[in-house]
């Protein structure tokens, strides 16, 4: 394969022919690859818009809240954050994802020990008095993605809390370290979308209700 020095700057005819053939072959191959990808004569019309990219996501149906996301992600703190689906949350006085001991008096909930080791679950009064309705949100500045709150909420609560990989934090590594170690194989690549804290939506095209 190695290129020998050319004698007097002129190539032998056969050699020149081979080189030209090689050039043509290489150009054809590259153009072929370009055409295959850039023209994309695919069946899925929704992928046709240019710049469609893929991003990592946790399937909330498969996730087992093992806590691996906290440590496995190349980012520290992890790009995985817990969110609470406000459309699904029951706004309980006592939240399984919030306080560790659910038998605590409703007066002392704010000072009671919490499920979250970093106290990232924020409890705010929504309506009514002491035993009224409370909304729960997760402070992403504190959240490390350990999934303890989501585990409790899905175990006994209304299953409104879940984990997401925030696309704005995710480095979008070709090889996701979390996906490599996920015991439930819940990490998958999906078309990129603004992953929000609403479990029903998620931007996955085949699960979306027909809106258009």
């Amino acid at each position: 394969m190695s290129e020998e020095s050319e004698k007097n700057g002129k190539e032998l005819p056969r050699r020149a022919f081979l080189v030209n053939a090689g050039r043509a072959a290489a150009a054809c191959a590259l153009t072929g690859v370009a055409a295959r990808i850039l023209l994309r004569g695919s069946k899925d019309a929704e992928f046709d818009k240019p710049g469609t990219r893929y991003a990592w996501r946790i399937d909330p149906e498969k996730c087992v809240y093992c806590g691996g996301c906290e440590t496995a992600c190349v980012r520290k703190p992890s790009a995985v954050k817990a969110v609470n689906d406000q459309k699904k949350c029951s706004f309980c006085v006592v939240c399984y994802g919030h306080v560790a001991d659910q038998h605590v008096d409703s007066k002392h909930i704010d000072s009671a020990p919490k499920v979250c080791p970093h106290d990232a679950v924020v409890r705010k009064r929504l309506a009514g008095g002491l035993d009224g309705y409370y909304k729960y949100t997760i402070d992403h500045a504190k959240c490390v993605g350990c999934g303890k709150c989501a585990a409790e909420c899905n175990d006994r609560g209304t299953e409104s809390m879940f984990l997401i990989i925030r696309p704005d934090l995710c480095l979008n590594c070709n090889e996701c370290e979390i996906a490599k170690q996920c015991p439930a194989e819940a990490i998958e690549r999906v078309p990129i979308c603004p992953e929000d804290d609403f479990k029903g939506f998620f931007g996955i095209d085949d699960q979306l209700p027909d809106q258009s």
Binding site: I37, G51, K76
Partner: protein, 340 residues
């Protein structure tokens, strides 16, 4: 008669207890818990709630990457064609620029080397990869058809790290290692293609890359600072990405690369093999002018990829474009300007 005060006392305590109980219960009256008004309030909140969205960075940044890569490649082609005189200092400056832009600012991912896997996937199902990634993959290949493996020296973040962290006077490996390199890179290419087309869609090439922790660390820190500037709920701080094993692997490869230049490039990189194969038929190939050459062997000593073979006794001077990364050290050092 005697019981009467007792009875009144009993009645009084009973009344007191009742009123106390009523008093205690009274604050609960304005907090009935399951009032319809309140649940309407909650329903209204639920209805009007707009989910928070976490937008990824817009894909136009990837097209900027393509443009920057193209600029690097044009610069590299100018170097390779001799329009700009290649010196070690200039080469290092371009390497540093490539390392800072593609490595630290953009995270070294998707790089054209890793894009090999993406493009393999894309050939099977084009909708799975982006246009920007395909352009990123194809640009260096087209450049190599014009002027050889200019991407390796001018633009590759991995090449830049290896170039920056090497000794000026390094160890020269024997010639037969070139065949080993050919074998290992081919194996890496085959492995990459098979791994990505398998069920697991494993990005083998990214697993083989030891330098990614460096890039991830830089990018994570930069992106975090960007997020702080945009007003997201994140704090300032340096992020160290990757595990201890990854950092130890990086250290080992960097130490190895200090004496043996470009260890990843030469013995692992499957993309380098593709570039090299196309380079052998490039329009501007690097070659040694047999008439001008005095077989001093200076270029051979400086070639980081061991691509030059000088045999003083038999008057043989060969340069393999398959392995040459167009760094231009040979042209700079040649006393007779025979390497072009």
């Amino acid at each position: 008669m005697t019981l009467r005060p007792f009875r009144t006392l009993l009645l009084a305590t009973f009344a007191l207890a009742l009123s106390a109980a009523a008093l205690r219960a009274s604050p609960r009256e304005d907090n009935p818990g399951c009032d319809t008004d309140l649940s309407e309030q909650v329903d209204a909140y639920r209805e009007n709630y707009v989910p928070r969205e976490f937008y990824p960075e817009p894909p136009r940044l990837s097209y900027i990457d393509d443009a920057v890569l193209a600029a690097f490649l044009v610069l590299g082609a100018l170097f390779a064609m001799g329009k700009i005189k290649p010196t070690r200092k200039r080469g290092l400056a371009v390497s540093a620029a490539a390392f800072i832009y593609f490595g630290l600012l953009r995270g070294g991912c998707v790089c054209p080397v890793g894009a090999l896997a993406n493009v393999c996937l894309g050939l099977r199902a084009p909708e799975l990869i982006g246009v920007a990634v395909a352009i990123l993959f194809l640009l260096p290949l087209f450049a190599s058809l014009v002027a050889g493996r200019v991407f390796c020296s001018f633009g590759c973040p991995l090449g830049a790290v290896q170039d920056l962290a090497r000794k000026k006077r390094f160890l020269r490996l024997p010639r037969w290692t070139l065949y080993i390199a050919l074998l290992t890179t081919s194996a890496a290419l085959v492995l990459t293609v098979f791994a990505i087309l398998s069920e697991e869609r494993h990005f083998m090439i990214c697993a083989l890359d030891p330098y990614k922790v460096l890039f991830h660390t830089g990018y994570a820190t930069v992106s975090k600072e960007m997020a702080v500037m945009r007003g997201y709920a994140v704090e300032h701080g340096f992020i160290i990405a990757g595990t201890l094993t990854a950092w130890l692997a990086l250290l080992a490869v960097l130490i190895l690369g200090f004496w043996i230049p470009r260890p990843f490039c030469r013995f692992v990189c499957p993309y380098g093999l593709l570039l090299g194969v196309i380079s052998t038929v490039a329009f501007k190939r690097r070659s040694i002018d047999a008439d001008a050459c005095v077989h001093c062997g200076a270029c051979q000593k400086r070639c980081p990829t061991n691509a030059i073979k000088i045999d003083r006794e038999n008057k043989v001077a060969k340069l393999s474009n398959l392995h040459c990364v167009q760094c231009g050290e040979c042209s700079a050092v040649c006393p007779k300007d025979a390497v072009k």
